[in-house]
Symmetry: C2
Subunit: 260 residues, 2 copies
């Protein structure tokens, strides 16, 4: 299944009127069932769905490790993911928790409370970063994103060490893209505590909470952060870099981690 | 309360390293209580909060008209909105409904199902549009948005007739911005059935459902639509225009409504 779909449009260019075939980004509903109970429908791009499901369940505290999942089956044609957890009781407990928080923008992370973030642990490992590394990573990141920048409206997200991109995912939602990356990291047993997250999307408090939960010491975005994200990043000792484009970037938090 | 906040950053420009004061967009948590029950925390920009609350309750089917609200009080310092509905039973019914849908991107509209959209009614009134009108509206829209485009990462949304912008709102979330606009329209008793929505954000299925519920015949975005939004727009006889920038735009749906 492709991430794009053809459609007929009328294109206006000044006085020109053209009937053309164009492509639009596919929006795909994926409903997740946990031990036969429907818990959520994600609107996403139909790639890396296994990573998305695992990452979502992890971000939303339904699982703590990949081994919490007994088995999992995705019916791509129907847009259904069936997941069975080993410990059903834990899942029931999870479901009794608070569920009402949504995001001002970016996928509504339905199940957790924004204030939880302040209870998040500080990141254990600091990662001294050099801007030359970030510039190189951003260059590679932009190269990989190019196709989808052209089609419009897809977010990219990557997990990197200081030298290279290890995981790269795309989705119509910046939350989904991040969940796909973390899901893949969880499945491949990659330690995230000394890694960097790159994202094309804005860094809101919810994005920051997700990365903090994975003990990511550095998060870099092509876009802007929000005040709450910067505040939390300072408290949690996370280095937040925004507007990372070409030779420019702004470091918003944890300024002491900066070397040169 | 301002929509922005000052913070100290390190700015990198090539080899230059500058310690500066910068501004970031404020992210403000607003918790809504409905008849003393906490239902949601929105992460938003702290402007037009009354409109946001009314628009959110309307979009999420908690109210059908402004008069459903008996009274409402916003404690801006604490980030709390207390709303009392006339008909408590109706609210309880609403709460028993499905609540698990979230969005791939754009605020998680927690309470409704994506498939509901296909049950939405076709728009009753078609609005024949001329591209010269859209171009003029976009010009005015961009002028109004300029400050926030500069600070980065805020979405704008407007309700217009064919000649002018009637309501203009901004928010860190594209769903919030739209809810603010619809909330204001509901409070001011503006008929939306012959109006146009302009938005800076992508048009996903959830944005389209929201506008369809208000019987909006035309929706215009600076950004891209998704496949699901285009499909729904065709079914619901809504004209969806994307990538409306300067003298250019693409018409994606309901192509027969196009005059010139």
């Amino acid at each position: 299944m492709d991430n794009i779909k053809k459609c007929n449009i009328i294109r206006i260019k000044g006085e020109e009127i053209l009937e053309e075939e164009d492509i639009v980004i596919l929006e795909y509903p994926l409903t997740i069932f946990l031990n036969d109970e429907e818990i959520v429908t994600l609107l996403c791009s139909p790639s890396a769905l296994k990573g998305l499901v695992v990452g979502f369940l992890y971000s939303e505290n339904f699982i703590e490790s990949f081994s919490d999942i007994q088995n999992m089956r995705i019916d791509k044609d129907k847009g259904m993911a069936y997941v069975y957890l080993r410990d059903v009781n834990r899942f029931s407990e999870r479901f009794r928790g608070k569920r009402t928080i949504t995001s001002g923008c970016g996928k509504g992370t339905v199940f957790y409370n924004v204030l939880d973030s302040f209870k998040s642990k500080k990141v254990e490992k600091q990662l001294p970063i050099r801007t030359c590394h970030i510039k190189e990573l951003i260059k590679e990141f932009n190269k990989k994103s190019q196709l989808f920048i052209k089609t419009g409206g897809v977010h990219s997200c990557a997990l990197c060490n200081t030298n290279e991109i290890l995981i790269f995912e795309e989705d119509i939602g910046r939350h989904n893209a991040l969940d796909k990356v973390f899901g893949k990291a969880l499945m491949d047993d990659i330690d995230t505590r000394d890694k960097i997250i790159l994202t094309s999307g804005r860094i809101s408090s919810e994005i920051l909470i997700k990365t903090a939960k994975r003990q990511i010491p550095v998060i870099v975005s092509r876009s802007a952060p929000t005040s709450l994200a910067v505040e939390m990043a300072n408290k949690l000792k996370i280095t937040l870099i925004g507007f990372a484009r070409g030779q420019k970037m702004n470091i918003y938090s944890n300024l002491s981690s900066f070397i040169d």
